[in-house]
């Protein structure tokens, strides 16, 4: 008995000690991937993937912010091709002395061409592999994803960090969508909703003759296939409906002078989607409530007059309505995609009827009557009630 116990103990200790060789990985054997761009390869049926790999060595000296000279690069871009994502990732180790490490990956960019073919197969790996986080942002590049991955950013040593921050701070305009892998997969798999992803592209900077990356709205998917892009105003239209507008600026024509603008800052906004089914007629009411402050006035409005404020509120409501109309026109009427979650709303309110509607929702959607009700308010006019030149 004693011997059995001691032998068992020995095995246990040895197996514990040996375990050190299995799952351990020292930090300096890892290539930390910060962003990943997926494109169609020129070879048929292959993916071409660009990995943005952080180089801690290069970042070591630049702990102080002012030392980030143009020459120092914090990342290295590695390109690899393969028939699947896993295949490509493993083939990448042929060129890298370190093993690719994905959990810190913040950004996944998908090329336009590939997105139009459908990204469902890609998502399987990203969803199944334990190394991938579902909190990575999902973006669609207008053009090639590789360009985005290999682009530099002036402010950050790690461009992925810049994209991450850009997406996070897009709440300042509400003109981009914040979609991570988790949300994309959730919307893709929920009946009655279609996913969107953020849209990113390289924009020519005229003066510097260089290209800079910029978030330019949203990309719209039908199931897992890209059908088109929304521009920035349409994206805000989408965010109005989804209730995801946090802040931003609304430009309205001044009631005093139609050629001049008044900028109104959005303070808070909320939305409600109310579906109604009357005699098989589906009607959806979108109620938006918005509050804002006057931020900038180029004409000479007297804000002590309540009529002026009412007029401004009315105009503001109209701007919001127009933005919503624009996105509805494109997504609902033209592409027939339910990125607004109208189907989901119907399902919640009429679970029984939804069962019959679900299959033909695609075809019904363009015909659905959407009414938009906007309640826009102006709370204050900032620190001054009249403009400086007003009197």
């Amino acid at each position: 008995m004693k011997r059995v116990v001691s032998v068992l103990l020995l095995i246990a200790i040895m197996s514990t000690a040996l375990a050190g060789c299995w799952s351990r990985r020292e930090l300096d054997t890892l290539a930390i991937v910060s962003a990943m761009g997926i494109d169609k390869s020129e070879e048929e049926g292959k993916y071409s993937i660009a990995y943005q790999i952080i180089q801690p060595n290069e970042l070591k000296g630049s702990s102080s912010p002012d030392s980030s000279s143009a020459s120092s690069k914090g990342v290295w871009v590695l390109t690899s091709t393969g028939y699947t994502l896993m295949d490509a990732a493993r083939k990448a180790t042929m060129q890298s002395d370190r093993r690719l490490f994905f959990p810190q990956n913040k950004v996944i960019v998908i090329g336009e061409e590939l997105a139009r073919q459908g990204i469902g197969p890609l998502l399987d790996f990203l969803n199944r592999d334990p190394e991938h986080r579902r909190l990575s942002w999902l973006l669609v590049a207008k053009g090639k994803a590789h360009d985005i991955i290999s682009a530099k950013h002036e402010q950050e040593n790690i461009p992925a960090q810049a994209i991450d921050n850009m997406i996070k701070s897009s709440t300042a305009t509400s003109m981009a969508v914040k979609v991570n892998l988790n949300e994309f997969i959730k919307n893709l798999s929920t009946p009655g909703s279609d996913p969107v992803a953020c849209r990113i592209e390289m924009i020519q900077d005229n003066e510097a003759k260089t290209h800079k990356m910029r978030l330019t709205g949203a990309s719209v998917f039908k199931k897992d296939k890209l059908v088109g892009f929304l521009d920035q105003n349409e994206t805000r239209g989408l965010n109005w409906i989804l209730g995801k507008v946090v802040s931003g600026v609304i430009l309205v024509k001044s009631p005093m002078d139609e050629n001049k603008d008044v900028a109104i800052e959005i303070i808070r906004a909320s939305s409600k989607i109310i579906p109604e089914i009357l005699d098989d007629e589906i009607k959806i009411t979108v109620e938006i409530e918005e509050e804002g402050n006057v931020a900038e006035d180029l004409s000479d409005i007297d804000f002590t007059s309540s009529e002026m404020l009412y007029e401004l509120e009315k105009r503001k409501a109209q701007v919001i309505k127009n933005e919503i109309q624009a996105v509805l026109e494109k997504a609902q009427r033209e592409w027939s995609v339910d990125i607004f979650g109208f189907g989901k709303a119907v399902r919640k309110k009429y679970p029984k009827k939804w069962k019959t509607l679900q299959t033909k929702w695609q075809d019904l959607l363009p015909e659905v009557d959407v009414e938009i009700k906007v309640k826009a308010k102006i709370r204050t006019s900032g620190l001054s009630t009249v403009s400086i030149t007003g009197r």
Partner: protein, 219 residues
Amino acid sequence: MLEKGKISNKQMVMLFTICRLMLTMAFLPYVNSPPWSQDLWISSILAFPMHIILALPVYTLAKRFSKLSLIESIEAMYVWFFLHRTSTILRELGEFLTAVPYPETPIIVFIIASALCAAYAVFHGLETIGRLAEIIAPVILSSVFLVFLLIAKDVDISNLTPVLEDGIVPVLYGAFVIAARTTMGMFLWILIPYINEPRKIRNSLLIVFLIFSLHLTPS
């Protein structure tokens, strides 16, 4: 009886609690649990009466023979049940660990390590295990609560609608599955003769089931 130590009712409650909750949290079986819909929380709550119904036979037995542990009455069967149950639990734990954090490590490492750990506790006897539960259970329950608080801002209650989309039947079925799973954990029933105050056992059990049900992740 082999064991001389006694445990308090409080300790039993905690033992029952951690026994199921630990595994639930590691493996989250609710992902694949009927009614496969947003109504799972109702199932979880409905599991409470189910628990009670399923526990009734054992409870009456325990009342009747509070001095005799089940293992003494149906020994052989129980020993087999235990072997099976314990190996399943160890396997589930190892499966979880090899799935995510330690993909390259052989599963036997985790099974042996956990089993040795458990054996060490058993070596010290029931009183020690009871006290262990008293430390671990509050830690786990409070961390569940903490996690709940931290994700509270991301909780969207409207995801729980429509309520009872497919009627009550699948939800009831789900409740049954949950209760049945937990009642499987009732191998802890053999603890009953070692409890300080066998009279209060009914209350203790109700507390256990309440914790299970209100935890809202079917255990």
